[in-house]
């Protein structure tokens, strides 16, 4: 479609303006406040770069930048090294129990990372089950705390994303490409590197970016298992939240550095994937082959091993939720005591866990569909800027978003309540994904369907709600369920913005873990996992096995 829609103040024009105002108020304004605090001295009110020079000159602070990069970079590389071959095996070969493994991978990718961290502590920590087992037979396992632990947890958590991305891309590779290569005697490993890798490169880059962003902005994992290995989000949180040395200005400066860094990486990735991008559409998808002998064993062992490791923390948490506890310790015997205790402490947490993400979800879907429509069908300069604005939260770490909101809306001038604030923050953070998927759905619907409706005398709004929306419905619903899952397991923004009244399940789990109430934490985590699994099952029912896009 050509860029031929001049701005008109019709119903869509009004919606465009409303969306712009919303973004100015809830995105531009808080970020501007962060920037303002970062460069203005609190006491003198003058312009200063002192916060930035403090950050870069003191190794204690600046090393967090390097640490975050190290975590993000290595996690991304490891995730690709595990996720891409796994997806390749799943596409090319017959593997027993493949469907089941796939569901496990999706569950592993959907759970909150910090739950993985805490479960790994139970398994491999100082007093962990596996550690003690090996100690019993005289082998000392390496220390899980610090960098290694973060890497382990995040890789287990994030390689499933690469798997899902690459799996989707491989579905679009036509079998004839494979056959053509084989007819030219390019097979096996050579086939993988010469044909498959270049074909899935754009997907790997996009997935890699997502993994990198999640890894460097993850807050819970380094907090729990890092033990002194300090990354960016931890530093921001500590600087902002600590009551003793809390320094908003300094925290803001770090936040600005974080945004600049993630922004640069986002642009680099975009540049790279534009250079590699091409469209594929498989008439005949790749057929899976039955492997024989040694190769078959290798493929099976690899697949079951990596999936097993990824799902292990979830399973172990569920197991521990049924163990009896005494004080902070697990003791012999099984019961539902942890659940009883958990429920007695939850008060409104469960309600919040449905209400906050629920309200957010409704807003997300409605606004995302409207924005997608503006971007696809009403291309003009203003809607283009809406498109860009809506993508900005994609590169902003959750904790940065949290403090930006806290700074902007907790003052005396503009006060927005806890509930509304959390909803708005969640909406902003999740909406880029929903917009992208809605845009993709909308581009599949030919323009002429809407024109047919309009030529038959239907109004613009009637056309949208009676024709466009119903056609998008199944895609929107499955996207909404995925959003739902990410919303209920969100921690990094919630941990900064929550108040006594707006505590969510993830916040509750996190605080119980910090207090050492592992039994209660396990029970709560199990509840969260069950909610996730049920949502996933509904998703699969609705999307009829369509690919999972995040």
């Amino acid at each position: 479609m050509k860029n031929n829609h001049k701005f008109k103040l019709d119903i869509w024009g009004i919606i465009t303006l409303l969306v712009v105002v919303g973004y100015i108020l809830f995105l531009i304004f808080p970020l501007a406040m962060v920037l303002y605090q970062a460069v203005i001295d609190k006491n003198t009110g003058e312009f200063t770069l002192a916060y930035f020079s403090k950050f870069f000159s003191e190794k204690y602070y600046s090393s967090t930048l390097f640490n975050s990069f190290k975590v993000g970079g290595l996690t991304t590389i490891l995730s690709i090294m595990i996720g891409a071959p796994l997806a390749y095996f799943f596409t090319m070969f017959k593997i027993k129990g493949k469907k089941f493994l796939q569901i496990l991978i999706i569950i592993a990718s959907m759970s909150a990372p910090f739950i993985g961290a805490y479960s790994w502590i139970l398994l491999l920590g100082r007093n962990g089950v596996i550690t003690n087992f090996f100690k019993g037979i005289g082998i000392a396992l390496p220390n899980i705390y610090g960098f290694i632990g973060i890497l382990l947890v995040l890789t287990c958590q994030l390689y499933p994303l690469i798997f899902l991305y690459v799996n989707g891309a491989l579905k679009n590779v036509d079998n004839s490409l494979i056959e053509a290569s084989q007819s030219m005697n390019v097979q096996g490993v050579k086939l993988f590197f010469k044909v498959i890798v270049p074909l899935i490169m754009p997907t790997v880059l996009a997935g890699g970016l997502l993994v990198f962003m999640r890894a460097i902005s993850d807050f819970g994992t380094p907090m729990l298992i890092g033990e002194g290995y300090r990354t960016f989000p931890v530093l921001i949180f500590n600087q902002f939240m600590s009551e003793v040395s809390g320094d908003d200005g300094f925290a803001s400066a770090i936040a600005i550095v974080a945004i600049v860094v993630t922004g640069i990486i986002f642009l680099l990735q975009k540049y790279a994937s534009n250079r590699f991008s091409f469209t594929m559409n498989a008439l005949h998808p790749i057929e899976e082959k039955q492997l024989k002998g040694f190769k078959n064993i290798i493929v099976h062992v690899f697949s079951y091993l990596v999936v097993g490791i990824a799902i292990l923390p979830q399973v172990y948490v569920i197991y521990t939720s049924f163990i009896n506890t005494k004080g902070l310790l697990f003791v012999e015997g099984y019961s539902l005591n942890s659940y009883k205790q958990a429920f007695s402490r939850m008060s409104n947490t469960i309600v919040n866990t449905f209400l906050i993400p629920g309200v957010s979800l409704v807003i997300i879907v409605l606004v995302a569909v409207l924005i997608a429509y503006l971007v696809v069908r009403r291309k003009n300069t203003l809607t283009n800027s809406v498109d860009v604005l809506s993508m900005v939260p994609y590169i902003i770490p959750g904790s940065v978003m949290g403090i930006a909101f806290k700074i902007a809306f907790n003052s005396n001038t503009i006060a927005i309540g806890g509930f509304a604030l959390m909803v708005i923050a969640l909406v902003l953070r999740r909406i880029p994904y929903t917009i992208r998927s809605s845009v993709a759905i909308l581009q599949q619907i030919p323009m002429s369907i809407e024109e047919a409706s309009i030529s038959l005398g239907a109004s613009k709004m009637k056309t949208f709600f009676k024709v466009t929306m119903p056609m998008m419905a199944s895609g929107i619903i499955s996207g909404a369920i995925l959003s739902w899952i990410t919303l209920i397991s969100e921690l990094s923004t919630a941990i900064i913005l929550y108040t006594g009244k707006t505590r969510t399940l993830t916040v509750a789990i996190y605080t119980e873990v910090l207090r050492g109430n592992y039994g209660i934490a396990a029970a709560l985590s199990t509840i969260l996992t069950v909610m996730t699994v049920i949502s996933l099952l509904i998703f699969m029912k609705v999307s009829k096995g369509d690919g999972l896009s995040l």
Partner: protein, 360 residues
Amino acid sequence: MSVEIKIVKALKKYGDNTVISNLDLEIKKGEFFTLLGPSGCGKTTLLRMIAGFNSIEGGDFYFNDKRINDMDPGVRNIGMVFQNYAIFPHLSVNDNVAFGLTNRKIEKKEIASRTDEFLKLMQIDEFKDRMPERLSGGQQQRVALARALVIKPDVLLMDEPLSNLDAKLRVEMRSVIKDIQHKVGITCVYVTHDQEEAMAISDRIAVMNKGVIQQIGTPKDLYQRPSNLFVATFIGYTNTINTKLKNKNNKFYIEFGDIDVEVANIANDVKEQDVIASIRPEEFYLDEDGLVKGKIISSVFLGLNTHYEVKLDGVENTIELVQESSIDNIIPNDSIVKLSIKKEKINIFSIDGLSNLVRD
């Protein structure tokens, strides 16, 4: 109710790129009018300007005396049939056809009876409760037509409606469309790139190229007296031969090597000049007394006709010659044949290809 369409000095721009400029067109009431041309010639753009889906950068568009430039598509009272049919996939056949009526203040009973009427007219009443995905291409096409016509539009606009159908169905739907248009008596603007389809269906055709109308006329006019070389080569197949036009005693001839062949219907005041002769394959015929000599290069037997590729003496490129297939043998390659030309059918274009020197 059908209307006459008048377009005066239409202008269409995408950014700085002018696609159509200074285009005038009049379509008569109740006429089946076709915009024909190669892809990118502006025919669909023009149709969508009439429909209101493309903005109009200049000029005036009228339905009868009513200027429609600034009217929304929904109030122009048009029926539109799209290339991909644009059937609403979430609505049943019946609801698709009734959709346009529900946007007007019409009673439910009336909606039902009018919907039924057109479902019957298009012979799809037996599918009325089906969802579109369970219809064949031809059936979807019928739904699209019924949906466009049921609102009793002033104009029926069709954008390559048959191009997604297979060849046999295309021919069948061609007559269905023509029939319906005749029954309803509605002004119809039809866009296609298929010249055979255009000839079969239209009362009049406008041949377009690069945003400019080359010629407007009946199918017979366009084929037999194309107004320029583009139309001659776009409509059907023709042999083009670069040659000289000579005047001997007020009779005109074209040169084939040493031989001069007479041509008819050229005005006396036309000067001798270099020209391009356009002679269709069927305008040559084998003739014992023919003046033109040639050698058969190859032949293709196509059932009804046999096509020969012939090298004529004194003509650089080979020409195509069509003969009705006879029960005798096909003329073998390398045979020398004598040909005559139906002189009244020959068209002679100026060397730039822009004008036809032949007048009736």
